[in-house]
């Protein structure tokens, strides 16, 4: 059976994120995702319609306001949450390394040209300013251009409804004095959204299997092709 190992597979010690919130929990070693099967062919299955993405106003890496709906509709979108200083090998760095590899594969597929975007939304608007996310994004948005948008929010209160809508949990570690630190805990999730703004798949750590995600993207592209009105339809 084919076997895929994530880039972070060798570094399986979890520091903070990806596991949440219970004091008596002993996170121990988190397991990198395993894949011991041949993924189904694109278009041979249907992805569930999990929920519609609610609109919100966020900030892009130039400091301009953007509507989230404008970045979750019109193209197939893979959206994840991150923060720039996350150091968990199976958290944000793993997510973005995986996304970068997927970006390269999408680029090589001519049927997906101009049809896919990635969106990364910071969990920490206090520290992840537009300048901070612009610096972070530089590593992932290169040439040839691929639409990978990095977003933040003006404030935590503006971000919270977005997190609630996606069901993205996040909490903050506190020090011995009970003061909040800058270590965030969150469950790593990636959201695959169709061009109509419907979440069609969610990948938590055990499900982050790039060949499957790629085929899911292709499946949505094929579905959109079937739904698009033909030239003959347009003439009628």
């Amino acid at each position: 059976m084919p076997r895929w190992r994530g880039a972070a597979g060798a570094a399986a010690i979890v520091s903070c994120a990806a596991l949440s919130s219970f004091a008596t929990e002993d996170p121990g070693k988190a397991a990198a995702p395993r894949m011991e099967f041949v993924p189904l062919a694109p278009g041979s299955y249907t992805l569930q319609k999990i929920q519609h993405v609610a609109d919100a106003v966020l900030l892009d890496s130039t400091g301009h306001s953007v509507r989230l709906a404008a970045l979750t509709q019109g193209k197939i979108t893979l959206l994840t949450f991150f923060y720039t200083y996350c150091a968990d090998p199976l958290g944000c760095p793993f997510a973005h390394t995986t996304l970068a590899a997927l970006r390269d594969r999408v680029r090589r597929d001519p049927t997906l040209t101009g049809r896919v975007r990635f969106v990364s939304v910071s969990l920490d608007p206090t520290h992840d300013t537009p300048d901070a996310i612009a610096a972070y994004a530089g590593e992932f948005t290169g040439d040839p251009p691929f639409e990978w948008r990095f977003l933040t929010a003006r404030s935590v209160p503006q971000l919270l409804p977005v997190l609630a809508d996606f069901g993205q949990d996040v909490s903050v570690d506190v020090d011995e004095g009970g003061r909040a630190t800058r270590t965030l805990h969150h469950m790593l999730k990636m959201f695959l959204i169709d061009a109509r703004g419907e979440v069609r798949e969610i990948y938590t750590l055990a499900y982050i299997q790039p060949p499957v995600i790629f085929n899911d993207i292709k499946t949505l592209a094929l579905e959109a092709g079937r739904q698009a009105p033909s030239a003959a339809d347009n003439r009628r």
């Binding site: 008596t24 894949m35 929920q51 570690d173 800058r182 469950m187 990948y203």
Partner: protein, 449 residues
Amino acid sequence: MRIVHRLILCIGVATAFSVGTLAAYADETCNSPYMSGLIKGQEDFVHVWTLGVQGMGDGSDKLVTIAANPTSKSYGKVIDKISVGGRGEAHHMGFTDDRKYLWAGGLDDSKIYVFDVGTNPSHPKLVKTIVDLPVKTGYAGPHTFYALPGRMLIGNLSNTASKDGVTGMSVYNNKGDFIAKYPMPTGDIRQVKGDGYGYDIAVNPAKNALLTSSFAGSNNYMRDLGELIKDPEAMKHFGNTMVMWNLKSMQPEQIFAVPGAPLEIRWALPEGQNWAITATALTSQLWLVKRDAGGAWVAKDVAAIGDPAKTPLPVDISITADAKGLWVNTFMDGTTHYFDLTDPEHPRQTYSKHTGSQVNMVSQSWDGRRVYITSSLLSKWDKQGKDNEQFLRAFQWDGHDLTPAFEIDFSKEQLGRPHHMKFTASPQRLASLTDAPAADAPAAAGPAR
């Protein structure tokens, strides 16, 4: 014991499909292992989804919370209870993927209650009641609640039309909105016919595999056991199959003939393992579902549980985190068994103990040191008279013997019939995002790149 004798007689004269039993899916090692926050140390609380009993307390189904950490001054005591305002045959529960919410189902009224256990697990709150399962799906009796990312996959037991065991799975998003339904197969797949029955669900993401089992419809599980076992026709209507599904497509790929109502399913999760295990209630066997040398899934019975001729009725099972051991409760003889699964093809019973007059659910902590047992099977199947003990019993397990730790008498405390258990732990050393320090505070984790 009269019912037991009737039952044994019935099994002798009826068929292999005599009386089924419900149990299931309980403990830390048997949660969807792909959710966040598995408790690998000491649990603080045990939540018990409890069937209401008319005339006992308020008579309502309720979520009972018990302090389970020995350092607590309330250790071994009931510290909270939430009544849901009626009796709907409270049965099983399951956490959402983020472990913030606990979904609990009623097998009779098909309602699903969503409790917030993340904000303050010592005092859960009922935040939503989902009532549209029958209307949206035609299914009834929501049984297993299995977390998928952002969703809850629900294994149902019955349907609203005939009330027999032909049913399916349903999917809701974490907001409680219905998404999809998937009927259990009734046709042939590779020359094996499906019976359409459902029960437990177990997922293995690394293999893109979803395995289901089968039990009975509400016309059997909501019927008085004494009457049921005297009805030979009704006794034929129990599940005899397991199904392997493609998790991505949610399509059935293989049906296994597993006679005798296969109930709880547990995957061996350590890397390199290629098997899951279940127990059949009516035939009292452990069954292994395993990939053969050619990569095909096969199911085979690998060990007897107790003396099958005496119909011990294995109900809940609990696998150890390393998949080398398995607890099995047998309802009729009130016995808790431990099997060595080092060789899953040849399980060996290495320990047993009489733990009550009737025992059903068994839940162990992740480290295997603590084992919890509850007594109730179904409101109309529990034993009568003095054998109708209703309890939660906690034990310490040292690898050799179960030693009592504490006990809650659910009858004495006017609570009801205790069934499914789930663990939570107190959130500590965590703040909300709104408490994050100002931008000039030093970063604890440092830049990732």
